[in-house]
Each structure stands twice: as structure tokens, then as C-alpha cells.
């Protein structure tokens, strides 16, 4: 496969990579018919980020594969890519363009940078695995707010640079940003900050019942960095506590970035329950966040039945599936329970490893969601709560490329 990017867009790509590098250490590259996907997940699997570049972004985009062939994909180290795009700010000054290519079964990804003075730089980045990362999340959630990067950066500036988590409290008129107070930290050592933003300051504001949600600031900072440099607004999508928060930046129909971050569930966060109203009561307080396994075949029918509310929404993000775990949910709205799941598809099925985690996960699914076992399995979870929010599901083959469409 091969694609070419022009000077100005090289800068965008570089900035996107820098934002992704703030989230994870590995970069998953997927080429699908009309788009390039760059994805990453952090080591604790509490955050996932992706950038989608449509073929319009490129001056040349060719997969060089048959329609029925497995689309090209690979995983490379983020570090590799960063050595290529060290200084995004100056990247368009002397660079004419760059060309990305790799052959099926190749061990290296080739990135060639063309300078305006005639010289070239050819990078050979080792491919770690021919694997892709899939995460299912949905965008039709009850809460959606859009703010300019300037507003958010200005707001976050009021918080300490080493602030880890932040609580977003929304109501129809106002939004509060607050320092998250963890019961474990000594309260005499931290400053508690609270900032109020008015609904009118947002570009879009769809908030029903008041709600507080706590998440990690790190990924938001990564999105803000990208959004500021590209002057794009950031859309924050969220649901009840414990469910992931989604930050989106989109340059309509050319590229978009989606950062998915787990949030603290109600039992973890120190929010005053009087303010919160869990409208549907879908998540009981003692139940950790969504962990589901993806069944190999994802049906597009499921996708279509879900209503989409955003123009540039990726339909695939709504794709869900039933899993054995969801039986344990109280609600019958199974498809909606699927918020955020991982799916690593691998070319070599026989290479699928059966490590301890996998075994334990199997037993977990039979054991009625035993909470302690969950901790054992995903003990590396979200640092704050020491409780996981996301899980890597078993490696499956299927990749529902058809689901990835910008719907109008």
C-alpha cells in the first residue's frame, strides 16, 4: 500500500502522532479502502485514542490490494514514529511531502520525506506485529458539549500542571470543572480548584439531568494540544459515571480524532449523590464499568438500528455485540451496554497466546462477574480507583471495515 501527504498535512499528521504518543506506546496502523487509521491504547487500558484520515487528506492513496484481501495493518512502536516527526511546528517549512508505504508481510514500514531542496529522508520503521486494535465506543450518548480549544485550555490553565484527574459537573445552565479529591491523598497537600463555565460559552451544549463525571486530564490535554494547533473545537461526549468519556476533534470529512477515556464509577468518585441523578440506573454502584468480549462476527445490522445523532459520526463506533458478560446487567438494552471494548485482530490465528489473563477471563465470564476476580484479572486498571474500566478482548479475526463511514 502507498499514500502521499502534502507538506501542510504532514504537519497535521505529525501533531496527531504527538497527541497519540501522549496516550500510548504502540501505534496501530490500519488501511481501509478510503481511510487510514492510527490508533493507540495506554498501558493500563484505561484510554484509547485514534485518528482517522480520509483519502481526501492524501494526494495519493492506494491500498494496492484486492477488495477481498485482508486490508493492510501493522503495529509499530510509537517511538519509531516520533523520531520521524520530532518537531511538528517546523515540519512544513522545508518539507514538500511524505510518502508512507508498506508491502503485505513486510517487516518494515517505509516513510519517505521529500525536502524542498531536493534531499530525501527514508525511514524504515520496524513492524512489531501485523495486528490491529479495535475499540468499540458509541457516540450517541445523552451528554454532548462542544467547546473551542481556547475555552478549554483557558479553563484547564486554572488547574495545577500536575493535576491528574478532573471532575466535570454539568447542569443545563452551568458546567463546573473541579479537582478530583481522592480519599487516599492527604487533603492538606492539595489545592482544590473549582471553575465555572456557562452553557453559553460552549459552541454546542446538550445537557439534561445534572451529572458529575471524573476522568484523567492527561488525554484531554493531548486532545487540546492537537485542537489548539489545528483550531478545531473539541466535543466531549459522556454518559453516566463509570462509562467512558469521549473527546472528539473533527475536520469534517478530512480527518478526525477520537480519544476515549474511562471515567470513575459512582462508587469511586467522591461526588455528592444529591446532585447526581442516574437517570436510568443502568450501572449499579458495586458494578465496575463495562467489560465485554467481542464476538468474532460483528453484524452491521446492529449498527444500523442505532440512531446516530452527530453529523460526522462514525457509525462503526456504535457497533456493539452481545456478550456473555452482559447477561449480568440488569437491563435488557444490551446493545447500549457495550460502550467500549477492545479487539485485537491478528493475522496469524495460531499465534494466539493463551496466557493467564486469557484463561482467567474465561473463567470470569462463567463466574457471574465476580468483582474480586475482576480486580485480579484487570488489576492494572485505572490508576485512581485501582479498578479497570476497559478490557482487551480476545483476539479475533473479523474487522468490520464496512461500519466505518461518515454518515451525513
Amino acid at each position: 500500500m502507498k499514500c502521499n501527504i502534502l507538506g501542510q498535512n504532514v504537519k497535521v499528521l505529525a501533531r496527531a502522532l504527538h497527541a497519540l504518543a501522549r496516550v500510548g506506546d504502540d501505534l496501530f496502523i490500519d488501511m481501509i479502502r478510503d481511510r487510514l487509521l492510527l490508533r493507540t491504547v495506554n498501558s493500563t487500558q484505561s484510554a484509547f485514542a485514534e485518528f482517522i484520515f480520509l483519502n481526501r487528506f492524501f494526494t495519493f492513496y492506494n491500498l494496492e490490494t484486492d477488495y477481498n484481501d485482508e486490508p493492510p495493518k501493522c503495529k509499530i512502536s510509537m517511538k519509531s514514529f516520533l523520531t520521524v516527526f520530532k518537531t511538528p511546528n517546523s515540519m512544513d517549512r522545508m518539507i514538500d511531502g511524505c510518502e508512507l508505504s508498506f508491502e503485505p508481510d513486510a517487516s518494515q514500514l517505509i516513510l519517505k520525506i521529500q525536502f524542498s531542496n531536493g534531499s530525501t529522508k527514508t525511514h524504515f520503521l520496524p513492524i512489531i506485529e501485523c495486528e490491529s486494535l479495535q475499540v468499540k465506543y458509541k457516540k450517541n450518548v445523552p451528554y454532548k458539549i462542544t467547546a473551542s480549544a481556547k475555552l478549554l485550555t483557558g479553563a484547564v490553565k486554572n488547574f495545577r500542571v500536575n493535576e491528574d484527574e478532573i471532575t466535570l459537573s454539568v447542569s443545563p445552565q452551568k458546567t463546573f470543572l473541579k479537582t478530583h479529591v481522592d480519599t487516599n491523598t492527604e487533603s492538606s497537600k492539595i489545592v482544590h480548584t473549582e471553575l465555572c463555565l456557562l452553557a453559553g460559552e460552549f459552541e454546542y451544549y446538550n445537557v439534561g439531568n445534572p451529572l458529575s463525571i471524573t476522568f484523567c486530564l492527561k488525554q484531554l490535554r493531548a486532545v487540546m494540544m492537537f485542537a489548539e494547533s489545528t483550531s478545531l473545537p473539541i466535543t466531549i461526549l459522556f454518559d453516566t459515571p463509570g462509562r467512558p468519556v469521549l473527546f472528539c476533534v473533527s475536520n469534517e470529512a478530512i480527518y478526525e480524532g477520537n480519544f476515549v477515556v474511562s471515567s470513575l464509577s459512582n462508587s469511586d468518585s467522591q461526588v455528592t449523590s444529591s446532585q447526581e441523578s442516574d437517570s436510568s440506573g443502568r450501572i449499579s454502584s458495586n458494578q465496575p464499568a463495562v467489560i465485554n468480549r467481542v464476538k468474532p462476527a460483528l453484524t452491521n445490522k446492529t449498527v444500523n438500528t442505532l440512531e446516530s445523532d452527530a453529523k460526522t459520526q462514525l457509525v462503526s463506533s456504535c457497533a456493539t455485540s452481545l456478550s456473555s458478560a452482559s447477561k449480568n446487567r440488569r437491563q435488557s438494552r444490551d446493545d447500549e451496554n457495550m460502550d467500549f471494548e477492545f479487539d485485537c485482530s491478528n493475522n496469524c490465528n495460531d499465534a494466539m497466546d493463551c496466557n493467564d489473563v486469557d484463561n482467567q477471563r474465561l473463567s470470569m465470564n462463567e463466574s457471574n462477574f465476580d468483582y474480586s476476580l475482576m480486580n485480579k484479572v484487570f488489576g492494572r486498571g485505572f490508576q485512581l480507583s485501582s479498578r479497570p474500566f476497559l478490557a482487551v478482548t480476545e483476539k479475533v479475526l473479523a474487522y468490520d471495515s464496512d461500519g466505518l463511514e461518515f454518515s451525513d
Binding site: K79, M94, N117, S119, K121, H123
Partner: protein, 275 residues
């Protein structure tokens, strides 16, 4: 304060005056990759030599025409001193100048073994530095005859700097190839996460002069080339030559703030391949 005129200092072996210290300090800073420096002074000017582990040698040539006054009352002087301290001293009043004024420097060296005195003055603030000197140690003699040079490229430094800006700092070695055939000039870096070719064809705008009689390629340690890459950034032109043994010679033409020219030569021995 020591502001007596030079006529009273006839017993000094060396003295020099410079209207603007910034004509000298950036060049010395650029070769300050090791503390110890050997200073040679003759009637042509000043040569400051810094070496690293018997493999690298950088020499800055500062002509006597750079100085407003330059008096040497012997044939030649050679001594060692701590260049890091000297560079700190020379830049001590860097941020004290008001618009339009420059920092003046007077240098004195009384007799063999005495300290090198620097008197730096700016708007009434005077800094008096006395740098201990030591006997010179032997420096490396590299033989790089100009007559039978095989390969030589002169680059526009601003272009080269931009191209080498993002060089992979994790690469242990750097291979340089000069050849009459494409790719003409190639730098290869290699690290676990990235292998990279940087190709500059001879017709590139970055190249001012290209001459190559036969292909030559050699490997160098990245850490030993790092100071040279920094020197590219301060220079306006950079020349690269490699001899038959793989000895690499950079020459940098550096324009000072007063538009005067200072040259720096940077020599580096190749890595011996075990394979």
C-alpha cells in the same frame, strides 16, 4: 580597577582587545564539548583546540584581525585552560547590555605559567576573571593533505541543519557515504526503532560544491559527531571531506555578529568495523 592603557603593560607576553565579546564567545561555546582546551597564539591569531578521547579534534581559528588590538611579544604561546569556565566568563555580562552597546573584552597573559586575565566591561560593570593555565599537553596530529583529496562537498549550512535537525539521537553510529553516483551523499542512522537514510543528491539546493572521485563510506560514533552537528547550526557554510582511511573532516565557516569570519575544523576518526 584595571583599566590602565596598554603602554603600561609592555612586560605582558600577550594582550588583546575586542570591542564586542560576542564575536568570540559563540565560537568558543560551539566547541566547548570538553572542559579542557589548548590555546595557541601566534602573530596570525588564536587557535583553540578541544579534543575528545583521541578520536575527535575541534579547532577554532580566530584571526588577529578580529581584535581591535593584538600584541604578542614572543613567537608563539601554548597553554591549556578550562574552556567551560572561560565561556561562562565571556558570557557573564551577556544580558546586561542596553540597546546599542556592546561588551568589551581585554585579554592579558603576563608570562609562562601565569593565569589568563579577562577583563570584561559593559556599562560601568566590570568583571575581572583570572583563569588558571597549565602547560600544554600534546595534541593529536591528523594528516589531511588538501592536494589529494578524494571527496569534498560544501553545503549551505541552513539547509543541512534543517535536514539533520530530526536526526535519530538513539542511533549509536552514523554512516556517511560520498559517491560520484547516486545517492551522492548519504547519512545512515540505525536504532532499534528506526533505520534512516538521509540522501542529498549533488544537484540539491543544499549543495554548493560537489566533487567525488570514487565512492567512500565510513561509520562514526554518534556521540562523536554530535558536536559537529551543533556546529552546523551556527555556521553559514559547511564542508565535508573524507580521506581514504575514513578520517572525516568538517570545516565550518562561521559569521560573527560583526560579520567577521571565523573558521572551525572538526576531525573525527571512523569506527573500526569488527565484522
Amino acid at each position: 580597577m584595571n583599566t590602565s592603557s596598554s603602554s603600561q603593560r609592555f612586560n605582558y607576553l600577550f594582550e588583546a582587545k575586542l570591542d564586542n565579546v560576542k564575536n568570540l564567545s559563540p565560537v568558543l561555546k560551539a566547541i566547548n564539548f570538553k572542559d579542557n582546551a589548548t590555546i595557541f597564539i601566534n602573530d596570525k591569531g588564536l587557535k583553540v583546540v578541544v579534543e575528545d578521547s583521541k578520536c575527535v579534534q575541534a579547532s577554532a581559528f580566530v584571526g588577529e584581525d578580529l581584535f581591535q588590538e593584538f600584541h604578542l611579544r614572543t613567537d608563539q604561546l601554548v597553554f591549556c585552560l578550562d574552556l567551560t569556565v572561560m565561556v561562562e566568563c565571556l558570557s557573564i555580562l551577556d544580558n546586561c547590555s542596553s540597546a546599542g552597546t556592546t561588551t568589551a573584552l581585554n585579554m592579558y597573559y603576563k608570562s609562562i605559567g601565569s593565569p589568563l586575565k579577562l577583563l570584561i566591561e559593559e556599562g560601568g560593570i566590570i568583571t575581572d576573571c583570572s583563569l588558571k593555565t597549565k602547560d600544554a599537553i600534546e595534541i593529536l596530529e591528523f594528516d589531511f593533505p588538501v592536494e589529494n583529496e578524494l571527496n569534498k562537498i560544501i553545503f549551505r549550512a541552513s539547509d543541512l541543519k534543517e535536514i539533520l535537525n530530526d536526526i535519530d539521537t538513539n542511533s549509536e553510529s552514523i554512516e556517511i557515504l560520498i559517491s560520484p553516483n547516486p545517492p551522492h551523499f548519504r547519512i545512515t542512522t540505525n536504532s532499534i526503532t528506526n533505520q534512516c537514510y538521509i540522501d542529498i543528491p549533488k544537484n540539491s539546493e543544499a549543495v554548493e560544491i560537489f566533487s567525488s572521485k570514487s565512492p567512500i563510506s565510513a561509520k562514526y560514533k554518534y556521540t562523536q559527531l554530535k558536536p559537529a552537528i551543533k556546529l552546523i547550526a551556527v555556521s553559514s557554510k559547511t564542508s565535508i571531506r573524507i580521506n581514504e582511511e575514513g578520517l572525516l573532516c568538517f570545516q565550518f565557516m562561521i559569521k560573527t555578529v560583526s560579520k567577521l569570519v571565523v573558521y572551525v575544523e572538526y576531525l573525527c576518526t571512523p569506527l573500526v568495523d569488527d565484522e
